[in-house]
Every structure is written in C-alpha cells, then in structure tokens.
C-alpha cells in the first residue's frame, strides 16, 4: 500500500494515474475550504431546484385543464401597446447584469481594491433588490388583476398558481438571501476584515450569486417560454 509512486498527470496508465492524483494526500482540490464547501452546497441546491422543476414538469404533463397562455399572461401594456414578456425580460436582464458586476467585485477584491469591491458588491445587491421588487410587482399583478391564487386560477389549470408561486417564491427567497449575504460580506470588506485572511470570500459569495442567476435562466425558460 505504501508504493504510492509519484504520478504525473496524463502519463502512464491513465485511470490509475487519475485516481492516485485525485486521492493524493492533503488537499484534493487546491482551493480554499470555504470555496469547496460552497461548490458542494450548490450541487445540493441544484438538486433542490432540479426536483422542483421536475415536479413542475410532472404537474404540467398531468393537468387536464388548459395551461394559461404565458405570452398573454406575462405581457405588459405601455401606452396602449402590449409587449409580450417585457417585464420578465427586464428582470432577467437586471439579474444577468448583476452577475457581471459581481464578477467585477471579485476581480477588484483579488487586486485588493477595497473601495471598488464594496462599490460593485453594493451595485450587485441593489440590482438583486430591484429584481425582487419587480417580482413582487409581478406577483401582485397576477394575484390582484388576474385573480390567480395558489388554489385556483380563472384562466385554466389551478395548478399554475400553485407551482408558479412556489418555485418563483423559492427562487426569490434565494435572491433575497443572496442580497443579505452580499451586504454582510461587503460590510466586512469595507471594515478591512479580510486584509489578512484574503479575499476568497468575495469569490465564494459570487459563486452563490452566479448560481442564483443560472437557476433563474432555467426557471425563465420553463415558465415563460414553455
């Protein structure tokens, strides 16, 4: 068992080389603990959203009443013209843009530029808040104008309200949690808490934020385009 010869990746018997590289002593992944932990957490969270979306598909396949026409339902009328999916396009644009500002915050954090890091993190958090507010607006429209409830839906399948509010609500809570998380980390960055420890925490926060954005892309595709 002690014959662990030093193996160079990509040489020799590739499978056993891969295994012994991967299982070598000390650290399996050359990254900080927190970052690995976040990755593993996100895999678990992927399962949560994946199961939600699979449940949605199962519901969608089994309903007998017609599903509401999403192009009409999510349309927005401005000055007499009806734009299909306008609100959701704006929301998606804001959330994706916030991923960009988060990436810039990570960049400045590793350069040690505290001021710009905090600035971009704040910008990210604000965009997250705007997203949640627009979502609240959308919910309000569905509830008060269209009369959609978790238990019923005048436009067709009663399951629509239930599954829509549950999944977008769960995602909205993730965004809200992310905003709080970013705010807390930004405050600590501002106070100089990470000057000695290093700024990998900003990247870890960013991982979470990008994940929330990525999940949104799937929810967007499944609810608004299907």
């Amino acid at each position: 068992m002690s014959d662990a010869k030093p193996t160079v990746a990509g040489t020799g018997d590739s499978w056993s080389g891969l295994v012994s590289d991967f299982s070598a002593d000390k650290e399996t992944f050359p990254i900080p603990w927190g970052k690995l932990m976040m990755w593993i957490f996100l895999i678990g969270d992927t399962f949560i959203f994946g199961i939600f979306l699979i449940a949605y598909m199962a519901v969608r396949m089994s309903v007998t009443d017609p599903w509401p026409d999403t192009v009409e339902l999510f349309a927005m009328t401005i000055g007499g013209t009806t734009f299909p999916l306008l609100l959701i396009a704006i929301m998606t644009f804001i959330l994706i843009t916030s991923s960009g500002t988060m990436a810039m915050a990570v960049n400045y954090a590793y350069r040690g530029d505290k001021r710009k890091t905090v600035l971009f993190m704040a910008l990210t958090a604000v965009m997250g808040l705007v997203f949640v507010s627009l979502q609240a607006y959308e919910w309000a429209k569905l509830i008060f104008v269209d009369g959609i409830r978790p238990w019923g839906n005048p436009l067709g399948a009663s399951q629509f309200g239930a599954i829509f509010f549950m999944i977008t609500g769960f995602h909205g809570l993730h965004v809200l949690g992310g905003v709080i998380y970013i705010a807390l980390v930004a405050r600590k960055v501002h106070k100089g808490h990470y000057e000695k420890k290093g700024y990998s925490i900003v990247e870890i926060t960013g991982l979470y934020w990008h994940f929330v954005d990525l999940v949104w892309v799937f929810i967007f595709a499944f609810f608004y385009l299907w």
Binding site: P30, G34, I40, W151, Q159
Partner: protein, 588 residues
C-alpha cells in the same frame, strides 16, 4: 491568491476554551459536539424503542391495554419509524461518529468550520424539540406512517392531520438544515484537511463510509425538503400538488388534480438513499472493527472502497422498488428491479470480504467483535430477503405484509444497530478513557442477538401468511390461523426482553464512565490515527504539539517479520521493530 495546503501551514495557535459553558455546552470542539449529538440521538432512540414496545404490547395482546387505541397505535408506529431512521440512526452515525472520528482519523485538529459544526448540533436539537412537541399539540403527533403518504396524511381520520403533520414537516425541514451544515463540514474536512501522508486510499473504511454517506445525504435530502414544502403548501395554502379530488367523510375535499404518486417518487428518491446513508457508515465502521479484532488486514481494501462508492451511486436509481404496488407503470418495475438486483453485487462483495477478513484471523472475541460478527449474520439475512422483495412478481403478494417489516428491520434496523453497539464498545475506551464491563457487554450481545432472531424470524412467516403490516389488530380474518396469534404474542415477549436487555448496555456505559478500569493507550492495538493521540481521551486540539504524519494504510496488522502484531499509521518504516531472525527489509 497564494493558497497553502492545510498540512503545510505553520503551527497555528490554538485558543483553548475556559469555563464550563464554553467547554461543554457551546463548544466548538468536534468531540464535545459528537457526544452532544450522540447523547441526544440515543435519548430519542430510547423513546422510539419504548414506542415500539407499546406497539408490540397491542399486537401481542390485543384488547388488553386500554391506553392504546387505533389512533395512538398509528402515532406510535409513525414516530417510531421516523425517529429511528432520521433522528437516531442518521444523527448518531454521521453527527455522532462522523463528528468524533473524522478529525481524529484524518489527523487534523478539528472540523474545517467548527462554528458551523456547533450550529449543526443546536439546529438538530431544535428539530428534535419540535418533533417531541408534536406529541403535545391538539390532535397529537401524526399517525400517517413514517412515509407520510398523501392523501391520507392530510385527511380527517388520520390522527394528527392538523397540527401533528405540520410539526413533523417543520421538524424535518429543520433537520435537513442541520444535516446540511454538518454534512458540508464532513465532506470538506475529509477532502481538504487530511494530514501529511493520508491519501484517500489510505483512509480507514469508516471514513469512506461516512464520506460517501454525507455526500449522498446532501443530494438526497433536497428531495425530502421539496416534498415537505409541497405538502406543507397543500396543507396550509390550499394547493393541490399531492391531493387528488376525493370524497372524505361524505364530502368532496377542497383539493383536486394532485398526484399522490408524485409524492411517493419524491419521498423515495430521498428514502432509498437514506437507507444507505445509514448503512454505509455502518459498513465502514464494521470493517475497521473486524480488522482490528481479527488482527488481519481488511480483505480487498480497494474493492471495499469502490463497493461503497458504487452502492452510494446505485442507490439513487432504485427508489421506485418501494412503489411496485402503487399503480406506477409496470415497465418501470422492470428497470427498478434490475437496478435493485445489481446493488446486490457490490453488497455481496462486501460481505464476502468481511468473512474473508475473519478467515484464519487471530480472532479476539471481544464485545465489539461479537457485535460485528452478529452484524454479518443479520445483514446477510436481511439482504437475502431483500432479493425476494426486489423482484416485482414476488414483491406484489408480499408488499405491505410482515415480511417487509421483517426485511427492513433485519437489514437496516438491527444490522445498523449491531454496528452501532460494536462501534460504541470499540471506541468507548477512547472516548471515555475507561474500559466497559466485558461480562455485562457479552450478556447484552447474546440477549440482543438471539432476541433479534426470535423477534424477526417469525415475522417472515407471518408475512407469508399475508398478515398486513400497520394494522392495529388482526381481528377475525379467516386467513389468519390461530397459531399466528400466539406467534405474535411470542414476538412481543421476545421484543420486550430485547428491549430490557438494552438497560444492561445503558447501565454499563454509565457505570463504567466512573468505575471502569482505566483503558490506557490504544487497548485494542489498533492502527488507525484516532488511537495514536498523546492523551486518552484526546484533549482539545487532539494532537498536542504536532499533527501526526502518516506513513502507511490503516490495516497493517500481523505483518510478517514485524515484532508487534500491528503498525500504527503514523509509524515511519525506520521505527518498525523487526523480528531478529527476519531479513531486514521494508515491509509496510
């Protein structure tokens, strides 16, 4: 950023806690957290054991005990199952043994995130408190069976369909949060904080079991969380995810269009991996106990590792074998029967390897060894009845009979508990610094082991007779012969004897804590790192001045040519004393 591997970092300064509260209550030390987890889990486990005793009283002697009515019977049954599977076994194996052994076995000073680890315990405690509180809410705890199948779970007629089920779902949600915090810690610690020389393929199998189980938990509990959220919405927000249109008590219910089958899929996507979340750490620990007390290296170490990993992976694609009679499409049954039977291959490899580890070993029939060997019997037994149930054609007549009850109690109840006892006796000298009473331990083993068979063997027979599980009483059903009733009484008597025998264990553990002889350093002559600490029991920080360096795998027992019959993992080759007449050569 410059990233320095943990084992290469300079000696960190340990902050030692002062005072009773920071040492024993709000402790960040993985060993204290482990004991907190263990004691809490065992306490709820004893409650669940008493609940099963009450059930057995009713089944063995119907119409004798006025305080057990059909409602309370169903509540006892539900809570017994849920507590045993989730709050006892998962918490004790991963929260208890995982916490205690991971940092010691990989040679680090603590978990990677001790604060999160502490939070994990207190969140777990909260989930237990909520669960216990559900007994006292109006309507009592839920009586839906541990699977909580809708629609009956939410319908009047099931005890606890109002507040009881809400408390249960909330408690499960909190438990999942607690487990996630713990599980992330276990996985990250094993991957990132191993000491110098401790490659993954040198780890004791205990760690492989705990590692795979934690990873599986992180992927399986999401399904339960989603199912719990959806059921909660069905209950509170009037949605119809799981509730079809039904007539209940002569009236149409408010729900329509939901799919109870969807719940079953979600539940068992969690539920089946959960079986292995409980079993894999047990597989690992029993391997270490067997190797240590047989003074032999574990047979086929690499095969054992891959078997654990493959079982873990396969367990995610077998869930619907719990649903053959649910009305699911029959061609699914073909797929799931095939995957289910494939799992038997790595499992059988493990059983053969355990037996071959014992083959020609220098067996020390200590108490932990007895329990470990007992596990091989009960596990093989339960595994074989699993082959029956894995086949659709045989499962259909046997589904929901006592045969199923006997099967899963043998394979994941009794077997896992056997390993837990083996593990508690094995690591007791390390955790407490004292030796337990051997005579008492042997009595405990024999009564438990024989009692297990007298309890569960007759249940197989009752299952063949077609006796349905979960029934409050069998009544006058014509297909139940008179002998079955007396068999049921016999089962109850032996179950209660086994239950009383556990008092021996509890007395032994508590008595030996103060009065047991001092165990000294490494009383079993084990190789793995947890026995090589400078102090017994290990102090805060585990390793004193310097963390150990590992030079070999964990199974160097009875190496030919070496004086001692074991070589600790942290002993360098130069320090190994050879027998005088043997040729000087490195052997490790």
């Amino acid at each position: 950023m410059n990233h320095i591997a943990f084992a290469d970092q300079p000696q960190e300064s340990m902050h030692h806690p002062q005072g009773f509260f920071s040492k024993y209550v709000w402790s960040l030390d993985h060993k204290v957290i482990a004991i907190q987890y263990g004691v809490t889990a065992i306490m709820v486990g004893v409650l669940a054991l008493v609940l099963s005793g009450l059930m057995r009283l009713q089944l063995g002697f119907p119409d004798t005990f006025s305080f057990i009515n059909p409602n309370t019977y169903l509540q006892f049954m539900t809570m017994h199952g849920m507590i045993m599977v989730v709050y006892l076994l998962t918490a004790l194996l991963l929260g208890g043994f995982g916490n205690y052994l991971i940092p010691l076995m990989v040679g680090t000073r603590d978990m990677v995130f001790p604060y999160l680890n502490m939070l994990s315990y207190w969140t777990y405690l909260l989930s237990v408190i909520v669960l216990m509180a559900s007994f006292f809410v109006p309507g009592g705890a839920t009586g839906a069976g541990w699977t909580l199948y809708p629609p009956h779970t939410l319908l009047p007629g099931t005890p606890g369909h109002e507040l009881g089920i809400i408390m249960m779902l909330v408690s499960l949600g909190i438990f999942i949060v607690a487990f996630t915090m713990g599980g992330l810690n276990y996985v990250t610690t094993i991957l990132q904080a191993r000491t110098k020389g401790m490659s993954l393929m040198r780890m004791p199998l205990t760690l492989w079991g705990i590692f795979t189980a934690s990873l599986m938990g992180l992927l399986a509990f999401p399904a339960l969380l989603v199912a719990a959220i959806m059921m909660m919405l069905d209950k509170l927000a009037g949605t119809s995810f799981f509730m079809p249109a039904l007539m209940s008590m002569g009236e149409a219910i408010d729900h329509s269009g939901g799919s109870p089958l969807l719940y079953q899929h979600l539940f068992w996507f969690f539920g089946h991996p959960e079986v292995y979340i409980v079993a894999l750490p047990a597989f690992g620990m029993v391997s270490d106990v067997l190797a240590t007390h047989a003074r032999k290296n574990i047979f086929g170490y690499r095969m054992m590792v891959w078997a654990i990993v493959i079982i873990g992976g396969l367990s995610f694609v077998v869930w619907a074998h719990h649903m053959y009679v649910s009305g699911m499409n029959l061609s699914f049954g073909f797929f799931f029967a095939t995957t289910t039977l494939i799992i038997a291959i790595p499992t059988a490899i493990k059983v053969y390897n355990w037996v071959l580890t014992l083959w020609r070993g220098n067996l020390h029939m200590t108490v932990p060894m007895l329990f470990a060997i007992g596990f091989i019997f009960t596990f093989t037994h339960g595994g074989l009845s699993g082959l029956f149930l894995g086949n659709v054609a045989i499962d259909v007549p046997l589904a929901d009979t006592y045969f199923v009850v006997a099967h899963f109690h043998m394979v994941m109840g009794v077997s896992t508990v056997m390993v837990l006892f083996a593990a508690i006796y094995h690591w007791y000298p390390l955790i407490s610094g004292r030796m337990f009473n051997t005579a008492l331990g042997k009595w405990h083993f024999w009564v438990t082991f024989v009692g297990t068979y007298t309890t569960f063997l007759p249940m197989h027979y009752l299952g063949f007779l077609g006796l349905p599980r979960r029934y409050f009483s069998m009544g006058e059903a014509a297909y139940v012969p008179e002998s079955a009733h007396s068999l049921n009484a016999g089962i109850s008597i032996s179950a209660i004897i086994v239950m009383l025998a556990q008092l021996l264990f509890i007395a032994n553990v508590i008595w030996s804590l103060k009065k047991g002889p001092r165990a000294g350093h490494n009383p079993w002559g084990a190789t793995s790192l947890e026995w090589q600490t400078p102090d017994v029991p290990p102090k805060h920080g585990n390793w004193g001045e310097k963390v150990p360096e590992v030079h070999r795998w964990a199974y160097d027992y009875s190496v030919p040519g070496v004086k001692a019959d074991f070589i600790p993992q942290n002993m360098p080759s130069e320090a190994v004393e050879m027998e005088d007449d043997s040729p000087q050569g490195e052997r490790s």
